[in-house]
């Protein structure tokens, strides 16, 4: 499988503290990657570097864009990185971060409209995604009228609406109970990997990580463990 994103020698410092220290990694099509580690280990900073939210002090991040070498995300201007995130990357946050004044349909349609779609077309597409995530009939509800799990599924629909090449999730089930968490995770994994896009997820939860195909552990800004879940299970059974 081809790589969708690849990073070489990523380093990010805050003051004299290294948040990320020389990390290199590749993420392939259809992969689901869990980034784990204790608080302050650099998980979120790594995700922000990979997604172009932050620029590394050293190293580079490339995102596949049809060309052989991909686009060097870390070399783009802030404006172009913002556009890239808006149009080619999906995000799901722990708090959902939905606009409370918009309906579920409108929340999902907004990224499409920002990318240039007409409103009617964007809302039709949003309805399809909401239905695919089990929210048919709730399109006109506002976030305040939905449960936590439903809100998170709207956030997933919003992330998927622009058909992004990769989806990043930051503790997407952190604020949910275990049953809802399973449903949301199913929705996130299925909607992303089933269409061949990779999912990169920061999580503290070992059960959530176990649902991914690959687990990366960080400590003090460095990768201390990187394995496919099948390999880990085989190692554990020995």
């Amino acid at each position: 499988m081809g790589s969708v994103i690849w990073a070489v020698g990523l380093t990010k410092q805050y003051g004299d503290q290294s948040a990320v220290d020389g990390i290199s990694l590749e993420v392939s099509q259809g992969e689901s990657v869990a980034i784990m580690g204790p608080s302050g280990s650099g998980k979120t900073t790594l995700m922000h570097l990979l997604s172009g939210i932050l620029s590394p002090d050293q190293g580079e991040v490339r995102l596949r864009d049809g060309s052989e070498d991909g686009v060097v995300v870390s070399a783009l201007s802030a404006e172009r990185r913002a556009r890239l995130r808006r149009e080619r990357v999906g995000f799901v946050f722990q708090e959902g971060l939905l606009l409370r004044e918009l309906t579920a349909r409108e929340n999902v349609a907004v990224p499409l409209m920002l990318a240039g779609s007409g409103r009617r077309r964007a809302e039709e597409h949003a309805d399809q995604w909401l239905a695919a995530l089990g929210l048919a009939g709730m399109e006109s509800r506002r976030p305040g009228e939905l449960s936590g799990g439903q809100q998170q599924r709207v956030a997933i629909a919003r992330a998927q609406a622009v058909t992004p090449g990769i989806v990043f999730a930051d503790e997407p089930t952190g604020a949910l109970d275990s049953a809802t968490s399973t449903q949301v995770l199913d929705a996130l994994l299925n909607s992303t990997t089933s269409r061949g896009a990779p999912l990169v997820m920061v999580t503290h939860d070992a059960d959530v990580a176990a649902r991914c195909s690959r687990i990366i552990r960080l400590e003090d800004g460095r990768v201390v463990h990187d394995s496919r879940v099948e390999e880990t299970r085989v190692e554990e059974s020995r």
Partner: protein, 436 residues
């Protein structure tokens, strides 16, 4: 516990800066307006002394609503960023009485500091504002001094308002150890507002024409009521009109920015009205008073006394000053409310920037929500005023086009001032949207 929390009140800038600035602007502008009005009341003018008093009263009535809106905005800012602290205290076992005591004490301290800053602002601006002439001579810094009794009364009034508003605000929420429960659904605007406003206006007109007015004080009182009730009616109808406009804008929105902006207004038409309502009232009265003054100037040219000429000039200047102060208060309301919204929704702003929204897009959403609402209320209020004084306005345009043009320019300048108030919040947006 209350004493401990009060000692930490000024530790976090987002907690104290906006409410303090709000109360500083409210009391500073309020004192200046009052100083100007008292100056006009005390004018010992042989011919028009009483008229100056009447015009000062009219200006005060007109400024009452934007002043109240500004004060309400300041009071609402007291509630910002307090939720997390209150729920943490509840988690630690604080009782309702203690929380109530804390909220009221914090409101009193912040309002007191803000009012004190407002007094300093008032004193600092007195020499500049004192240059404005009325009745043939400059008002002078000393002429704007309200006196220590009025000063103390205004400060006490602002403090009382802050304490009562914060206490009432606390009644609308439920503090639990896990957070603050408030209604998240869109605010409803009661359609009956229009009916109530209509009945009030009709009642005042009926009283005005049917009750015999024997003495001068009664005539003045009824005249002011004749002016105040339609303004209160506008205040009642305003949010309802804004809601109707926003419903149409939501349906017609073709871009994401326009959709979010219109939905934002629909979420709370009252909140938007608190920001731009002052401009509607300024435009309404500006057109009426401005065309009246322009007509007087045009008709009387050539055969009026020097004193009358001064008086007409003063009326025009008074209209302009009232318009300027109203627009200034509206711009302050916009700046305060928008800053508060940015602080309140800082997580959402930061999240949207991570998702790829640019600062310009976020700013455009906020600008559209305020400026489109402002445009709507200006069109409606100017249109209503033009219909109300159509014959007078027609004559005024013919006989004194320059004076009418001055009023139009003042309205455009006022809208520009509000836009500046909006722009002044951009640094706050940039700071919360900064990627770290």
């Amino acid at each position: 516990m209350i004493r401990l929390m009060l000692t930490r009140l000024f530790a976090e800038r987002s907690v104290w800066l906006l409410p303090t600035a709000g109360f500083a602007l409210t009391s500073g502008i309020g004192l200046m307006v009052l100083g100007g009005a008292l100056r006009l009341y005390s004018l010992d003018h042989p011919e028009f002394g009483m008229l100056y008093g009447l015009f000062a009263s009219i200006a005060l009535v007109l400024l009452l609503i934007p002043m109240f809106a500004l004060m309400s905005s300041a009071a609402r800012l007291l509630a910002r960023r307090r939720d997390e602290r209150l729920s943490t205290l509840r988690l630690l076992g604080a009782g309702s009485g203690q929380l109530r005591g804390l909220v009221v004490a914090e409101a009193a301290v912040l309002a007191a500091v803000g009012t004190l800053a407002g007094v300093v602002l008032y004193l600092a601006l007195m020499p500049a504002v004192g240059l404005i002439p009325f009745a043939g001579r400059r008002m002078g810094a000393e002429g704007l001094w309200v006196g220590s009794t009025v000063l103390a009364g205004v400060c006490a009034g602002v403090l009382f308002f802050a304490v009562v508003a914060s206490f009432l605000g606390l009644q609308r929420i439920r503090v639990t150890p896990l957070g603050i429960r408030t209604s998240r659904s869109a605010q409803q605007v009661w359609g009956g507002r229009a009916v109530v406003a209509g009945i009030a206006v009709v009642a005042v007109v009926v009283i005005y024409y049917s009750v015999p007015l024997q003495n001068q004080a009664l005539i003045f009182g009824v005249l002011l009521a004749f002016l105040a009730v339609p303004l209160l009616a506008v205040q009642l109808i305003g949010p309802w009109v804004l809601r109707l406009v926003a419903v149409v804008q939501v349906k017609r929105a073709k871009t994401a920015e326009k959709l979010i902006a219109a939905r934002g207004v629909l979420e709370s038409p009252q909140q938007m009205w608190r920001q731009v309502g002052g401009a509607a009232i300024a435009a309404f009265t500006g057109v009426i008073a401005g065309s009246g003054a322009a007509l007087m100037q045009g008709l009387e040219q050539g055969n009026i006394t020097a004193a009358e000429q001064v008086m007409i000039g003063d009326i025009q200047r008074g209209v302009m000053v009232t318009l300027a102060v109203t627009f200034l208060m509206t711009a302050c309301s916009v700046a305060l409310n928008q800053s508060a919204q940015i602080v309140d929704r800082r997580d959402l702003c930061a999240g949207m920037v991570r998702m790829g929204f640019t600062l310009d897009q976020l700013q455009r959403v906020r600008r559209l929500s305020v400026m489109r609402s402002l445009t709507a209320v200006l069109i409606i209020s100017v249109g209503a005023a033009c219909i109300f004084v159509l014959p007078v306005l027609g004559y005024a345009i013919v006989v004194s086009p320059l004076a009418v043009a001055t009023v139009v320019l003042a309205l455009i300048g006022g809208a520009g001032l509000i836009r500046l108030g909006m722009l002044s919040t951009r640094p706050a947006l940039r700071s919360v949207a900064q990627l770290r």
